[in-house]
């Protein structure tokens, strides 16, 4: 035990008085807890977007009823819903969603495995940062679809092409997210680590990585968005060969058939999958991460 506190003034009246004084001040200055419960918070999160969605669909239907446009040019919500149902009944929808999610998920995991060490290296090693930093930022700006022609020539019409395009989209975002997470660590925290006698490894695992987590996480989120986008672009362009049937392929097929309802239905599915992954996987983790550190804006609690 560092201190032998028991030998000292446990029952000194002036000490008791100080303790009471401090306890009083502490309770005066304490931050009050959020009065809203978990159910209310979930409701606050889900209700507004759902109400907006219902409103948009209603407006769309009203427009169709009043203007009566050609259904092959502007289909109504019911036509689109019909296209979804028929895709479901022919098992095409399930196949496309499963294929794309599988590819997107696997591609994302590989991208995390590659992007994280690159990010760490960039953040902690200055010469590497100077050499590779600008290139990586450039890659983040370059649309990864631009790699499709090259990838087709290298890997042919195979899954490797699709994964290559996903990686080129997601890896720079993940690496850059980690770099900015590390850059934003208050220098005081590292100093405290040094003062407390942390070794290099302890500094990295106990101070730097946990401190960089919020930035790293937003990099992961952006990485997923880029992975999903790149995947769709790749699937639309790369058709045939060994390539399976994904949402992009379904979009392409509907266009070939001039089936606008099918096209719109597929777009909605792609959008919906993106929103679902964000809402179900990323948002709860992020909220927890930020709330624990007191980084949530008051309105988002």
């Amino acid at each position: 035990m560092p201190l032998d506190t028991r030998t000292a003034t446990a029952h000194d009246p002036s000490h008791d008085e100080l303790r009471r004084l401090e306890a009083g001040l502490d309770s005066l200055q304490a931050v009050p807890e959020s009065p809203r419960g978990a159910f209310r918070r979930t409701l606050d999160g889900f209700l507004p977007p759902i109400l907006l969605l219902i409103g948009l669909v209603l407006a769309w239907q009203v427009y169709i009823l009043i203007v009566k446009p050609r259904p092959d040019l502007i289909p109504g919500p019911l036509d689109v819903f019909g296209a979804l149902v028929s895709a479901w009944n022919s098992d095409r929808l399930q196949l496309a969603v499963t294929t794309s999610l599988e590819r997107g998920g696997l591609g994302f995991i590989i991208a995390v495995a590659i992007g994280t060490p690159i990010g760490l290296l960039l953040a902690e090693c200055r010469p590497v940062r100077r050499a590779l930093g600008p290139l990586l930022s450039g890659l983040q700006v370059l649309p990864s679809v631009a790699w499709v022609p090259a990838a087709i020539i290298w890997f042919g019409l195979s899954d490797a092409t699709v994964y290559f395009v996903i990686l080129m989209g997601a890896v720079p975002s993940i690496a850059n997210g980690l770099v900015s997470g590390v850059d934003q660590i208050p220098p005081q925290l590292r100093r405290v680590g040094t003062v407390l006698g942390a070794s290099r490894v302890q500094m990295a695992t106990l101070v730097v990585l946990p401190a960089a987590l919020p930035g790293y996480f937003s990099g992961l989120k952006q990485g997923w968005a880029f992975a999903w986008r790149s995947l769709m672009a790749a699937e639309i362009i790369v058709i045939g060969g060994d390539i399976g049937f994904g949402l992009g392929s379904m979009l392409h097929l509907s266009r070939e058939l001039a089936d606008l309802s099918g096209v719109l239905a597929t777009i909605l599915v792609i959008l919906f999958v993106g929103i679902l992954v964000e809402l179900v996987i990323f948002a709860p983790i992020e909220r927890r991460l930020l709330r624990r550190r007191g980084l949530m804006a008051a309105g988002l609690r």
């Binding site: 560092p2 106990l206 007191g294």
Partner: protein
């Protein structure tokens, strides 16, 4: 002698005891810039509460960082007899992803305390600063004063004989600061630490220190020092603190005036 000094564990320093901190002909400059610290010689006895006082930018924090081993001196040498020192900063700098208790536990872990003892030790240290109930709170749920007390518990967890404090209460409101003065003094008497306390607040120095060192600016030199015979706790409002503050302030202003072009 008052009741407080009777029960103090702090060892009475004698001339024979080796100094806790020795600073020998210390000089510091950054690159080719002007001299920040010039020929500082200092010997601090074990268990002494020393206040290092000076205007902003006089190099008192630099001196503290050099003693802490965070910066290297340009010339001269610093010896801390007990090895490394614990440090506390103006910003509590608690790790925001850990609870108050875990913050203290991390310091124990890095200090080599075995896992099974850490929880109890951390609670005991938090209780020392009257925060045992806040062990499961996260830093953002604590007030500034509470955070600074957790930081104090964390630096005590390092179990080092020397505690260096860099304006630890400067960002707090006056009521909280007053309480923390009392808290710190009590902890000091109870644990017998050697404390070097950097401040630009004359009254704070007069309230806390056994020995007050006044530094001049550009270059930083120690220009005067006062020793206060420890007659137990004194309050910041007391006449002797006010008298001492007056005297020190006069000289501090004189030093500052010298810098007017």
């Amino acid at each position: 002698m008052s009741a407080l000094t009777n029960i103090a564990v702090a060892p009475t320093p004698t001339a024979l005891e080796p100094a806790a901190i020795t600073v020998d002909a210390l000089g510091k400059r950054y690159g080719t810039g002007p001299l920040v610290l010039d020929n500082i010689n200092l010997s601090i006895e074990p268990g002494q509460f020393v206040c290092l006082l000076g205007a902003s930018g006089c190099g008192k924090s630099t001196l503290l960082n050099i003693i802490a081993g965070l910066e290297k001196p340009t010339e001269g040498a610093v010896t801390v007899a007990s090895g490394k020192a614990a440090v506390m900063f103006q910003d509590a700098a608690l790790f925001p992803w850990l609870t108050a208790g875990r913050n203290v536990e991390l310091a124990l872990k890095l200090g080599g305390v075995p896992r099974k003892d850490r929880r109890a030790d951390a609670l005991e240290l938090l209780d020392l600063v009257n925060l045992a109930d806040a062990a499961d709170k996260r830093p953002h749920e604590l007030s500034g004063g509470m955070r600074q007390r957790v930081a104090l518990a964390r630096s005590l967890a390092q179990d080092r004989k020397v505690l260096l404090m860099d304006e630890p209460f400067a960002a707090l409101d006056a009521i909280t600061r007053d309480l923390l003065h009392e808290e710190l003094e009590r902890v000091w008497r109870q644990t017998g630490r050697t404390i070097v306390f950097v401040t630009h607040n004359v009254r704070e120095a007069a309230r806390l220190g056994e020995r007050i060192l006044l530094m001049s600016s550009r270059p930083g030199r120690i220009v005067n020092e006062w020793t206060i015979t420890d007659a137990g706790s004194r309050r910041i409002e007391s006449p002797e603190v006010a008298r001492l503050s007056d005297e020190i302030t006069d000289q501090l202003r004189q030093e500052i005036r010298r810098n007017a072009a």
